[in-house]
Amino acid sequence: MREYAYYPGCSLESTAAPYDKSIKAVFKTLGVGLHEIEDWNCCGATMYMSVKKIVGYSISARNLAIAQNMGMQICAPCSSCYTILRKTNRHIAWDPKERAKINEALNAAGLSYDTLVDVRHPLDILVNDIGLDTIASKAVHSLKGIKVAPYYGCQIVRPHGLFDDVDDPIKMDQLLSRLGAEPVHYPCKVRCCGGMLMTTKEDVALALNLKLLEAAVDNSADMIATACPLCQMNLEAYQKKINKRFDRNFNLPVVYFSHLLGAALGIDLKEMGIGQLFIKPEKLYDVVKEVRV
């Protein structure tokens, strides 16, 4: 059985609770173990990097140090956490002096980090470790009839493009089409949603998200599938505000890619927190009614 150290990150405890629930349910159904890193802390996000870099990397490394003792790779569903944890590893590998400083900070808490632990995104794990054949063999519903805009966002492909292309990633497209869904042409698949700008500079963020919604609707998508808590929240929870500001009437569901996968695997939609979303993905309810023979 494959096993991973699970790093949910702060968003998956709150705004992205449906992401957390669906990832856990999907991995369980596929027989893949997720073991939550005990007493994990905030990765530092983009914020700590803006204040003090070495402190940010040191607190991020606490999670890596605990995972190192578990002897497993890390599964990090939040794009931001994924990038920060990976950057922490890169920084530690880059300069022995920085590595020594970070370890000195960790030592103050009785920890040390010596063997770099690989950090993986669940999309990478699903497509590359578990494999599309295995996933398809366990599917009980076909997602036929669902047109979905696959939205990757920024930080799972950039800056390093480790498991997919930086300009035109296709892993989510492959996963969804294998399950019967129709990924539509989505030119905005790696365009920025503005992230924290929704809090700090709302005008700019609303305009960015307008473009993302327009591109999905123009290409006849029934819903957008995301892989990042911030993208999902900006696109979905602020849709009303976007409608008001730009005089539109979007009512486009924005789900996590794991919701579509979970529905295909026959997982109860409620168990995956679909009810916590602002806009009900009707099409998803339609497909789970029919049992594939």
Binding site: N41, C42, V55, R158, C192, M196, K201, F278
Partner: protein, 195 residues
Amino acid sequence: MKTEIIPFPKAEAELRSAFWDQVSSFPEGHKIKLCLQCGTCSGTCPVSYAMDITPRQIVALFRAGHLEDILNSRAIWLCASCYSCTVRCPAGIRVTDTMYALKRLAIGNEIYPKRFLVHTLSKTFTNNVYRFGRNYELGLGIKYFLSADIKKLFSNIGYGITMIRRGRLGIIPHRLKRINQIRAIIKKANQFGES
């Protein structure tokens, strides 16, 4: 003809020295010297249209000796870390990481654009991590809007209530069991200087 080299004013010279410390503290930070002013960064940036100076201009201004003006600009605080510039720069410059370096320089020297208090979000965030070990989103939002934009606090109340009702925003912050570990790490790492 003798060329006269005019030194930078003291404040600018000190900032520049701190800037070089910052960019030498991350992988490939020094590549900023290779900028060829092509403007790919500004062209690919999804928010450059809203910036007072663009990423390309930031490098040009730095070369011309106007680092303080850069720190006074809103541009660095508009960067949303999408890394588009970083993957496209033909000179391999880590533009996003350089933006972080400028943000740290601004916070370290308390030089901010007028009426644009984005940096307070970063500071509130780091305080929350020290107190709880994790991000406390509700507290972060309220505290940020109170200090930076009180009108936004009221316009976002409805949104916050919906999030709470959907179980997507915790009211009570989660504190780590071993919060002392986090605090010890932060205290120790804080001794390693500004970068």
